[in-house]
Symmetry: C2
Subunit: 294 residues, 2 copies
């Protein structure tokens, strides 16, 4: 059976996805607001739909790679009858609220919908290690899993909650990965200002990434068990060390904005009575009141 799908939005990421599908023998119908963006894909074997309705009519599986949710809603206006009976996979980046609202919209018009978050750059599409997170109804995932794993073999469905892919994207690509880059940039800037240069940092980067892996694995285990006690450094001990390091940075004229924000979060945890626990207890949301189960 020939596999086929429709893809809306042929920017950098949409083009990368289309090329991957074409290379694997999938028939792809593409549509883009500016049709000329699709010309290279047509040369590679894609079929360009003349308009959005004919793009939707071509297939029961529709991948959405437009700029954002509002663009999707505006181009769909008036074509809602074509939603019925179709499965939409949304690759646009958005918030938890965006996903929840789009799910209601698609569902109210008789369609089905999976959310997707691509944790990679367009150049990485099609590689073994590339990860896309999918969330939403499991039956939709199972129906298309083989096709949805083609752009990245490491891809995973992470649950029924429609917003889960967007939340995990904001958490890991955003709050962890992006802030991690920022933290390193602050470290580099300070070391260079203080006359140490870049090479000593280069020489110990892998060492500290390994330490980070060990510590974050420990953090995960604390959170899985909801047990934040430690026989290693407590939050109070960390706060003392962080204050000393931060002073070193301030002495050198380094603002230390991220470091200061982190210290503040840790100080709040100590002020709220968690100084005797491990650093995994910095945020209190999941600490159970003794004798009370969540």
């Amino acid at each position: 059976m020939v596999q086929q799908l429709t893809l809306l939005g042929t920017g950098l990421m949409g083009s990368a996805l289309t090329n991957r599908y074409l290379n694997r023998g999938v028939e792809v119908t593409v549509w883009n607001r500016s049709p000329e963006r699709s010309a290279p894909l047509v040369k590679s074997g894609a079929r360009a739909a003349l308009n959005l309705p004919s793009a939707l009519e071509a297939n029961a599986l529709v991948l959405v790679v437009l700029l954002d949710y509002s663009v999707f809603r505006s181009v769909m206006a008036g074509h809602e009858p074509l939603i019925s009976g179709r499965d939409f996979i949304n690759f646009m980046t958005g918030s938890a609220k965006d996903a929840t609202e789009l799910a209601a919209y698609i569902s109210s018009h008789g369609g089905r919908y999976l959310e997707a978050a691509i944790e990679a750059y367009p150049d990485d599409i099609g590689q073994e290690s590339t990860l896309i997170h999918y969330s939403g109804p499991e039956d939709i995932w199972l129906r298309h899993a083989a096709l949805l794993r083609l752009p990245g073999a490491a891809s995973r469905w992470i649950g029924e909650l429609i917003s889960a892919a967007n939340v995990l994207d904001a958490a890991m690509a955003g709050a962890f990965y992006n802030t991690g880059i920022g933290a390193f940039l602050e470290a580099v800037d300070f070391a260079r200002k203080a006359g140490v240069g870049i090479e000593p940092l280069e020489n110990c980067l892998v060492y500290f990434l390994d330490l980070l892996k060990t510590e974050l694995t420990a953090v995960i285990n604390h959170h899985k068990s909801d047990d934040y006690r430690t026989d290693q450094a407590t939050l109070s001990i960390y706060v003392a060390a962080v204050k000393s390091w931060r002073q070193t940075m301030l002495d050198s004229g380094q603002r230390a904005s991220l470091f200061t924000a982190n210290l503040h979060c840790m100080e709040m945890a100590v002020a709220e009575g968690r100084g005797h626990l491990g650093i995994a207890a910095t945020y209190a949301s999941h600490l159970q009141v003794p004798g009370q189960k969540q």
Copy 2:
């Protein structure tokens, strides 16, 4: 030739260092303000000095593992004549200023001094992978390098600048590693609050640590060449993504303190005209004015 040294301060880290040296056949004379802390080490073969002067007189190499710089200065008061002709290796955590001032003090009394920063926990002392950074006069390092590598085989001398070990410690153990933990904790807290749970984060942690390694290696290369141009995502593009992720977190009632601090630093970089460059150009300190060499 029997190797021997004096070690001041037998807390957790001082005891770990002493045990490592004893196990490798080094004769260790220890001294501690509270002598009872040294008793287990004496059982293991250390010699306990009755007082600080006799501890100093015992050897020409003195390792200092007291609580902090001010404790060292206060216990040394009146014994300065014993500094002359001795090499002091300082394992206490301190600022760049602490190191510079201690160097002047030791030097003014005829002693020599190396700064050390232990990038590991007491349990890690003696392992192949354990890293201690040393900085200060190269001849002192070369004289004792074999002994100074015994507590951690990965240890390195990073330069003549006496404060370099403290700066690198604040930069990497502090600003990078500690903020990296905080960033992950913020991500975990958000994902749990938003109903995604801990397992999807666990499943993609190694993926994002690998991405981080790739990106930070790229950052180092930008800084080594002082060339911050990119054909990947520019700072302006990152700012747009970070704003969207942050909104997702705020919508869920997540303060996103670290993420917000990072966004602010990136927004300042864009405001200062670096939006067309890569994320490595977030801080401007090292950007050269065109046509002008540093």
